[in-house]
């Protein structure tokens, strides 16, 4: 059934379809509608879940930790400062291998305070051991959350589905909503082999003495790397059942492309429009949209980008004092490749600074110039800064 849903409603509906058993979240803009919608589902008897009305995001994730360890499917949602407040517990949940699933409506970080959109929040926690998936549309929010539950529970790792605040969270789109029975067939009930149970006492979250700590970290890392293959299997199963195909990344009009854009999230839609315009003019420009960001799919990224002359990495975050996170990851993936494109990093859209088609055309122009000259210009280049800021 097709329904008109904003991104937050799509996220809440996905959690309901996944039959989450414990929901714990705290209001924060722009995610709040997720909590509100889930509360209403529970209030109306449409979702049989414990809805734990916590006093902070720190406790929201801690409640999910306890619930997941006890064998319940647990879900939370947050944004920005809320994700920062959770950050300590993000590492605890992943280190304890608990498949908690989270929706993160991407929002800027303070200071200055901004309730608006960029992806600084989730990129700031990219090392926390959570699988990270980024959405281009509200359909993707619903679909990737359903896949996230199955993936997380299969690999015993938590997963975070990220979508741009306002651009998706507050914008209604037509979303194909699967039947409950179809979802039930895709996503079986959560039944972990290890859980807190007086019949089989076990100790969870002990002290990792120096003799074992590094091995625990290694196993977590190894299994997180392997989550790439599992994601492909889950996406394949999802595609077969629901007819919508997902991959680690999406290649849009990349055939023979000399210039490639690489980005994540809703910006891909604008970028597709820009690529279409270029292609109409006969220019060899394409787009690579990354869906799975953690674990970082280096092989797929290299394969998708390696034939370009210049790659523009477009992202809504900055590792302050250096480059964007996606850029550094992408360049690292190419470190030992003998043939590699030139890379230029474009920082844009911070705090909801509008990214217009003209901005995209300017970026493509810069890439074209780099291809001609054999070297990139200013790197990173901040796009859309007010005139007086440009040095």
């Amino acid at each position: 059934m097709r329904r008109l849903l904003n991104g937050n409603e799509a996220a809440a509906l996905a959690a309901k379809l996944a039959r989450v058993q414990v929901v714990s979240a705290y209001p924060i803009t722009p995610q709040t509608v997720v909590v509100e919608t889930l509360a209403k589902y529970v209030a109306d008897g449409e979702l049989e879940a414990e809805f734990v009305k916590v006093e902070s995001e720190h406790s929201a994730l801690s409640v999910c930790l306890g619930a997941s360890a006890t064998g319940a499917r647990a879900f939370t949602a947050t944004s920005s400062q809320g994700l920062m407040l959770m950050s300590e517990i993000l590492y605890v949940v992943s280190g304890m291998r608990l498949p908690v699933v989270m929706a993160n409506a991407n929002r800027s970080l303070s200071a200055p305070l901004s309730i608006w959109n960029d992806q600084q929040d989730s990129l700031a926690v990219r090392d926390s051991g959570w699988i990270q998936l980024y959405c281009e549309s509200n359909q993707e929010i619903l679909d990737l959350l359903l896949q996230a539950f199955l993936l997380a529970e299969r690999v015993s790792l938590p997963a975070m589905v990220c979508y741009d605040g306002y651009i998706l969270s507050h914008t209604a789109e037509a979303v194909e909503v699967p039947e409950q029975a179809e979802v039930d067939a895709f996503l079986p009930p959560y039944s972990p082999s290890l859980k807190l149970d007086p019949d089989r006492p076990l100790t969870m979250g002990p002290v990792g003495v120096p003799e074992v700590y590094m091995e625990a970290r290694y196993m977590q890392h190894r299994d997180t790397r392997r989550a790439r293959e599992e994601f492909l299997r889950v996406a394949e199963e999802f595609g077969r059942r629901f007819g919508r195909r997902y991959g680690i990344l999406e290649e849009y009009r990349t055939e023979g492309a000399e210039l490639l854009l690489l980005t994540m999230g809703s910006l891909a839609s604008t970028a597709k429009e820009a690529v279409d315009r270029c292609r109409e003019r006969g220019e060899k420009v394409g787009l690579v949209k990354l869906t799975l960001y953690r674990p970082f799919p280096d092989g797929e990224v290299v394969e998708a980008l390696k034939r370009a002359k210049v790659v523009g990495v477009l992202e809504k975050d900055i590792s302050t004092g250096w480059m964007g996170a996606l850029y550094t990851d992408t360049v690292a993936a190419f470190a030992n490749e003998s043939r590699r494109p030139l890379f230029q990093n474009f920082i844009l859209g911070l705090g909801s600074r509008d990214v217009r088609l003209e901005d995209l055309e300017g970026i493509i122009g810069a890439l074209r110039k780099a291809a001609e000259e054999g070297k990139v210009g200013e790197n990173p280049r901040w796009v859309g800064l007010k005139g007086e800021m440009v040095e």
């Binding site: 006093e55 801690s62 306890g66 360890a69 807190l196 100790t203 969870m204 074992v212």
Partner: protein, 291 residues
């Protein structure tokens, strides 16, 4: 009766004479096996679970320092949703994990009415990191962050009254206890575990390492704290406080203070001030004058 069953195995790494580990052992005896324990970071977590060893013969989980009450809330919510009945969820934190960094999570847990028994094992400082003051460090006590020097005279603020904070949440059961009074402690654990909804138990636990005394004296000090009125045993059901132990003649506080290195710098004047504050608190709770 105190059950013989040991659910906290020997061989853990607590210091000799540790009051906290005595409390855990006694509490588990009263609770039995149908429990899930959630513990905050601290001495007890560290000494009982150096992987691959564990002293816990009941299911146990540790998440972080400040979130034991929230993790326990999640465990309780999951048990409820999964239809698992008859399992008591018990959260345990030290004084730092309860009175300071974990106070918000504790307040949330009590306010939401989770059926969780929260236990604070209070040894009056951050002992796990090496004796730094906490909100429950008593007035005058030396710690490494309240040293007695030319200007400072140890902790300059009175002990934070967490049981009263718990009481203000109007939960069904709040009690104070001491490892020096095991029967009183076990009685209260059983009551706290039996209530529907949140309960809070604050257990005074001497720490030979942090309080600077001979480890053979732990129980004696625990009892002296109560006999002098420095620690008062009470319980509150439905909000009204009832004393559960009333010393026949309250001893002067100096008898409790003088055995501990952490108070050895105090002048007679400072001891008098402590006596006055203890007298004041005892008057409030209806415990008589000493002597």
């Amino acid at each position: 009766m105190i059950p013989a069953q040991e659910l906290l195995a020997p061989g853990h790494r607590a210091c000799p004479g540790c009051g906290e580990v005595m409390a855990l052992r006694l509490i588990l005896k009263a609770l039995g096996k149908e429990v899930i324990v959630v513990e905050a970071t601290g001495c007890m977590e560290v000494v009982t679970t150096p992987y691959p060893q564990t002293a816990w013969r009941v299911p146990w989980i540790h998440g972080a320092f400040e979130n034991a009450a929230a993790v326990a809330s999640g465990v309780e919510a999951a048990l409820k949703r999964l239809g698992r009945k008859g399992v008591k969820v018990v959260a345990i934190g030290g004084d730092g994990g309860t009175a300071d960094i974990g106070l918000q999570a504790l307040s949330g847990m009590m306010e939401r009415g989770h059926s969780v028994m929260y236990v604070c094992t209070d040894n009056e400082a951050y002992m796990n990191t090496g004796i730094q003051r906490s909100g429950t460090t008593p007035f005058g006590a030396w710690t490494t962050t309240t040293p007695a020097g030319k200007v400072w005279r140890g902790e300059d603020r009175p002990k934070k009254d967490v049981p009263s904070i718990a009481l203000a949440h109007r939960i069904p059961y709040v009690a104070t206890a001491s490892v020096g009074y095991p029967r009183d402690l076990l009685w209260k654990v059983r009551k706290a575990a039996a209530v529907e909804g949140p309960s809070y138990l604050h257990v005074h636990c001497p720490c030979p390492t942090g309080w600077r005394y001979d480890s053979a004296l732990s129980v004696r000090l625990a009892r002296l704290a109560v006999e002098t009125g420095c620690w008062i045993l009470w319980e509150a059901e439905g909000g009204s406080i009832r004393l559960t132990f009333r010393p026949e003649r309250r001893k002067p506080v100096v008898e409790y203070l003088r055995l501990q290195g952490r108070f050895s710098h105090l002048t007679e004047e400072e001891v008098r001030r402590i006596q006055q504050e203890v007298d004041e608190r005892c008057r409030e709770l209806g415990l008589g004058w000493y002597g």
